[in-house]
Amino acid sequence: MNAPITPREEQHPLELDRPRVSVRVPIVRVDKQGTLSDRERVERAMRSFVADFGRTSAIYLESCIHCGMCAEACHFYEVTQDPEYTPIWKLEPFKQAYKREFGPLAPVFRALNLKAAVTAGQLEQWQHLIYDSCTVCGRCSLICPMGIDIAGLISQARHGMFQAGLVPHELWAVAERAAREGSPLGATPAVFKDRLEWLADDHEVEIPLDKPHADVLCTMSSIEIMKYPESVVATAKVMNHLGLVWTFRSDGYEATNFGLLSGNTAWQKQLTLKLIEAAIACGAKLLVLPECGHAYGALRWMGANLYGKPLPFRVVHISEFLAEHVRDGSLKLRKLAKSVTFHDPCQVSRRGGATEAPREVLQALGVELREMYPTKGTNWCCGGGGGVVAIHRADALRHKVFELKMKQIDATEAELPVTSCANCRQTFDDGQAHFHWHKTMHSLLELVADQLAEPAP
């Protein structure tokens, strides 16, 4: 169904007072953007797919032996046993496009029609598999006997889906809002400034904004700004405790990147460049990313590639930042006599490599760390990553996945579940409310801010 002609605010009103923040449940779902014909949608998708095919993706797409092992690693398959959720199957139109339009044997496939052309109906059918039932967590990439990075290919497939105007309603709405306003959840510069003033007053903490020069530029995710403002305060407390010259910038504070999650590379670049330019403008040597999984991948691992040259500053996740300061002795913490289990955010840990940093911080807090099984690189995803938590129609499936996570955490019998991703945290909040679970997910950063040792007299 094509979008009705109504103002965007009426079409996609935000819902910020629920355990998970998104747009409100749409009265009429609009999972098809624009008024393109089916043929145009397919052509756009094919052009995008082909533009994305390079040596790495070609190697992967030529390597699959259809062993199906990837299903065993996928949380969506694990909880449903539905073969449709086999990770490599989610890429079927993408694979088909490669074989028919691009691979070394493509002329033969086309001439003899050995591989059918991708159709608009097929792309529409696959929207559910590419968006609703893939958190791009990359667990499947660890089981594939050929070593195919299936999650990386899913991200590329999303580019084509966006170009075809086939993005789930909510994901498109928040991505479009982010491109228009600078934030997917309404955390515009004015709102951000207002919140900082309110938080600084309420918590009696100095929160610098728009310092012309700073060594450290801090960033936040829209979920933190709108739902977990304590994280903003915690960031300020830690930075002030360390005595750093730091700032937030109203021209680059929002690390959430729904351009990446929805598949729009132009929006992804626009949001990434804002942060890069803000860091350069204030001469920051270090940009600290917030507790947000995909924000880490978007800037730490993709930022320089979008910028076109190496970044003139370091980029670290807040957990890495905390660990660095634990290591050099500058972050003094009071002990916390609790047992804790740590939920690894997929994009920071499994796919981002910052797996040990949060554990170093937890060790410094003196907690008893009870690892889940499996943990670290093979930890189960919470089910809300990759934009899935924003999609209402995916709720039932996501909740099934969350049951897996609850069991995993309950088995540790730890007092506090802790993570370092606000998106995971809101997925936990939503799951907790849905299942009336007795556990509440905690933020590693907030835990640290609460345990800061008083400065020596």
């Binding site: 065993e72 073969p83 089981i143």
Partner: protein, 227 residues
């Protein structure tokens, strides 16, 4: 020219040439594709160490053991059996020696420098490999995941792999009989067919395995991501 003469003469030469040219076309076609330089600051500068994934991924991680056991066991069984018989069964080693002698002018010492399998062991391995292949096929047909993701390539590649094993076994059993030459000709024709199908479908994984595992290993090691 008899069928056997054709199968081991021009037929084999054509199949070999087709195999070499198409395999090269596919591999070079991929190698020449663009690969953008990663400009992000690496966590691990010695990203090449990720090449260890080529060996590491030969066995599933502890966390994944169990779920994929059937595929792993049948896969390893028929691959090991197939390769052992291919490279160490005496008639095959003689053929390789002839080919290598022709190419290098050197004389290969069969039974000395090149180990061989006793005929009984080769026969047993062939039977075991065929049984594993059959089990893999049945699994592909009955397992909902495999059935969904399978296509013509999977089934035809299975046929092309099983046929030389089956015909080779038949030829071995009927050595000395009146059917010997016919069966040997059929065996060689299935080998030729396998050589020609190899670069067209998924059997190319024999080469792609190293490229795919190596690529992921290096990319992930650079980030310090889990491999």
């Amino acid at each position: 020219m008899t069928l056997l003469d054709f199968a081991r003469g021009p037929g084999l030469l054509f199949a070999l040439a087709f195999f070499v040219v198409l395999t090269g076309w596919r591999l070079i076609g991929i190698a020449l594709l663009r690969s953008n330089r990663d400009l992000s600051e690496p966590r691990n500068k010695a990203a090449w160490k990720g090449l260890r994934l080529i060996a590491l991924r030969s066995w599933p991680r502890r966390e994944f053991l169990g779920g994929s056991a059937f595929s792993e066991i049948t896969g390893y069984t028929f691959h090991v059996g197939l390769l052992a018989v291919l490279f160490f069964y005496v008639p095959h080693t003689k053929l390789f020696a002839e080919v290598l002698d022709g190419l290098t002018g050197a004389s290969l010492r069969i039974g000395g420098g090149w180990p061989t399998l006793p005929a009984g062991v080769a026969t047993t391995l062939t039977v075991i490999s065929l049984a594993a292949l059959l089990a893999a096929l049945v699994h592909r047909l009955v397992n909902p995941v495999k059935r969904l993701i399978s296509n013509f390539d999977d089934y035809f590649s299975w046929l092309m792999t099983a046929a030389p094993l089956a015909t080779g076994l038949m030829a071995h059993i009927y050595v000395g009989s009146s059917h010997e030459k016919s069966l040997l000709a059929v065996h060689l024709l299935t080998v030729n067919a396998l050589l020609m199908w190899f670069p067209c479908g998924k059997l190319m994984h024999a080469f792609m395995l190293f490229a795919a595992r190596g690529t992921t290993g290096v990319l992930f090691e650079r980030k310090g991501a889990a491999i």
